[in-house]
């Protein structure tokens, strides 16, 4: 399964959008946080988990999704949200904690919810899996189209929720795809130190479902494998577990000194940065001209600039609005 040219363009544009968005967030996040770093200061307070380097996973999977398909994401959700089509302006405003944000500032960066494209988050490891199984069940019971994709990290495969939701999805043959982003690190603990097997996709055997491991952080390979899994789910043939080797180019959160990484690891990762790699491939294959790719990058940058300006210009929520929206 090879993506058509317009899909390739979309994938590249969304990868660049995500990266440029995070570059902007990263810079703004540090405003007000020097010389003394205090997480509570600046226009974007709180924890910040960047997904730089993990963009191929988001676009390779979401290229196959429609707005009615459901995605549950993690505490590191920006790339997934952008690829799923979450409103970038409202998402930026939410990350700034503004009244115009997706949730009026109640959620922040770990709780990105956009009902228009069926996107939800949880800041707790593996806890999006149950809701994804439930959304898939809802579609199955109602005979409505749509699949559910739960993005998790490789550390989440060691949570009880992973096992419970995988088994539930398999025993009920739910239209669900679990995508494990293996960035090799659960904060400071390596996959090797935390996980009894090398590939979490092997765990699919425990549920009698297909499991695929995709090495290389390669958006095209991800596109291919995810496409087959999503088609399978749409046909009613049940869930698939996919683990994808990817790289976290940033720390676990901003402010993470990353002392746990072996010397030189980051240099190696930057050398494999998937965005320049994809640009080079698209050019080498002769599918795109420099001008076409530049145009996509400019489009991405414009969307990011727009979103950031919107967020900056938006008003803070009224403090007393904290007391609303607890109940429907």
């Amino acid at each position: 399964m090879q993506p058509a040219k317009d899909t390739l363009a979309w994938m590249y544009e969304k990868m660049v959008t995500s990266r440029r968005f995070e570059n902007a967030i990263e810079k703004i996040y540090m405003e007000g946080k020097s010389p003394v770093f205090n997480m509570a200061d600046g226009p974007i307070p709180g924890e910040m988990h960047l997904s730089d380097g993990q963009e191929p996973v988001a676009v390779g999977v979401c290229a196959h999704l429609n707005p009615e398909d459901v995605v549950t994401a993690t505490h590191r959700p920006h790339h997934q949200a952008i690829a799923k089509g979450v409103d970038l302006k409202k998402m930026a405003a939410e990350i700034f904690g503004k009244a115009t944000g997706l949730s009026g500032g109640r959620g922040g960066h770990m709780h990105i919810f956009d009902a228009d494209v069926n996107f939800a988050c949880s800041g707790i490891i593996a806890q999006g899996m149950g809701p994804a199984a439930g959304a898939a069940l809802s579609r199955q019971i109602q005979g409505k189209p749509g699949v559910a994709v739960s993005f998790i990290g490789e550390g989440a495969a060691n949570q009880g929720a992973f096992h419970e939701a995988m088994n539930l999805a398999a025993v009920w043959k739910l239209p669900m795809i679990v995508v494990v982003e293996d960035n090799a690190w659960g904060i400071s603990v390596s996959k090797e130190a935390s996980t009894a097997i090398q590939r979490n996709s092997d765990r699919a055997a425990a549920y009698g479902i297909p499991g695929h491991y995709i090495p290389g952080n390669d958006p095209l390979k991800i596109y291919e494998v995810a496409g087959e899994a999503i088609e399978r789910a749409r046909r009613g043939d049940g869930p698939t577990l996919i683990e994808i080797e990817t790289y976290r180019l940033a720390g676990h959160f901003m402010g993470d000194a990353e002392g746990y990484r072996p010397e030189g690891e980051k240099d190696g990762l930057f050398a494999k940065d998937p965005i320049p790699a994809m640009r080079a491939k698209l050019l080498a294959d002769g599918q795109f001209t420099e001008g076409e790719l530049d145009a996509l990058e400019n489009k991405a940058q414009a969307a990011v600039d727009d979103a950031i300006s919107f967020a900056r210009a938006s008003a803070d929520p009224k403090p007393e609005d904290a007391l609303t929206a607890v109940f429907a």
Partner: protein, 341 residues
């Protein structure tokens, strides 16, 4: 009345669910042993036969998985009714309950609703020890984002279930095992009352005056209401008129009814089968003392479960549980009544 139709709470819950399932195709039920068996405590009996396996699902023993799934289905437009067989089991799945179910409406700024009912059994008194006998009312009521109800009788059980199923919010529906009307758990006759056949709602957040009185207010919920009513029967023989308030809902809490009753009687006893400290009993007393200090003729008292895990041995558990005699003693003390001969 001769032709009155009396139901147990278990039957009333199942009837309400069935009636709602007939008119609302988005309602479905899942949990452990709720389909073929009809629920360990009888509250889903007959549903599988009428609605089939698609809408009435036995689940694996995976509370985190299926309660999390209920959240996802609710956000996707369905109305799941899920059962956590014993409330004590919340320890294996509380993340799905209070970090997902109770918070997603807020975190989404009201864009995602989570209309679901989480049924769970509470209560002890039958020597099932400390992992199958707790009430944990306060643990659930403490955390924002979910409504919490618990009926004391079958009429309220049906009406609260119907209301819960029509509520756009997550509702924790706590049913006391001692009131279910399952013979093997003992039967509280006072819980088996007339239940109309037609569908109706009991408003969530509205307490009931289970018995009107003049001298002392006894506030409770579920099984505690029956202890209060029995105590009131004894007290009236001793010249003390007790009013019994059945909270029916803990969230929202009907503070007005509690305050109005205490304004009338000047005395407050809270009966709570949940643990003594940091719980419902303290909240009820605070509700009154924050606003009605001048109305109080005596310091409020609480008869709650001591702050110990629930023991197995009958004599030990019974020693700890609230009962009518403890309430009578407290009321007499507060009313300055002499110890009867």
């Amino acid at each position: 009345m001769e032709n009155e139709r009396k139901l147990t709470i278990a039957r009333a819950m199942a009837e309400a669910t069935a009636q709602e399932m007939r008119i609302d195709p988005s309602v479905f039920v899942m949990g452990e042993d709720i389909a073929e068996l009809g629920g360990v405590f009888g509250n889903t009996r007959g549903l599988l036969e009428e609605f089939g396996k698609e809408r009435v699902r036995d689940t694996p023993i995976s509370e985190t998985g299926f309660i999390g799934a209920a959240v996802g289905a609710a956000q996707d437009g369905m109305k799941p009714v899920v059962e956590l067989m014993f409330v004590d089991f919340f320890g294996v799945c509380f993340d799905a309950i209070y970090n997902l179910m109770a918070k997603n409406t807020y975190f989404s700024g009201g864009k995602f609703n989570v209309p679901m009912v989480l049924m769970t059994s509470t209560g002890g008194g039958y020597s099932d020890a400390g992992q199958h006998s707790q009430c944990l009312y306060g643990s659930f009521a403490h955390l924002p984002g979910m409504k919490v109800v618990s009926p004391s009788n079958a009429y309220d059980a049906k009406g609260l279930m119907t209301a819960a199923l029509r509520d756009p919010n997550p509702v924790i529906y706590m049913y006391h095992k001692g009131l279910q009307g399952m013979g093997w758990l003992g039967t509280e006759k006072g819980a088996i009352v007339h239940v109309p056949e037609e569908s109706y709602e009991v408003e969530i957040g509205k307490a009931a005056i289970a018995r009107a009185g003049r001298d002392v207010t006894i506030v409770s919920i579920a099984q505690g209401v029956h202890h209060g009513l029995k105590a009131a029967d004894k007290l009236v023989e001793q010249g003390i008129s007790a009013e019994v308030v059945d909270l029916r809902s803990l969230v929202p809490l009907d503070r007005d009814t509690i305050r109005a009753s205490v304004a009338k009687t000047g005395r407050l006893i809270v009966v709570d089968e949940d643990y003594h400290s940091y719980g419902v009993s303290g909240e009820i007393i605070a509700t009154v003392t924050e606003s009605n200090m001048a109305d109080l003729k005596a310091a409020p008292k609480r008869i709650a479960y001591p702050d110990v895990p629930i023991p197995f041995a009958r004599v030990m558990e019974q020693h700890c549980l609230p009962n009518a005699d403890k309430i009578v003693a407290a009321a007499r003390d507060m009313c300055g009544a002499p110890v009867p001969a």
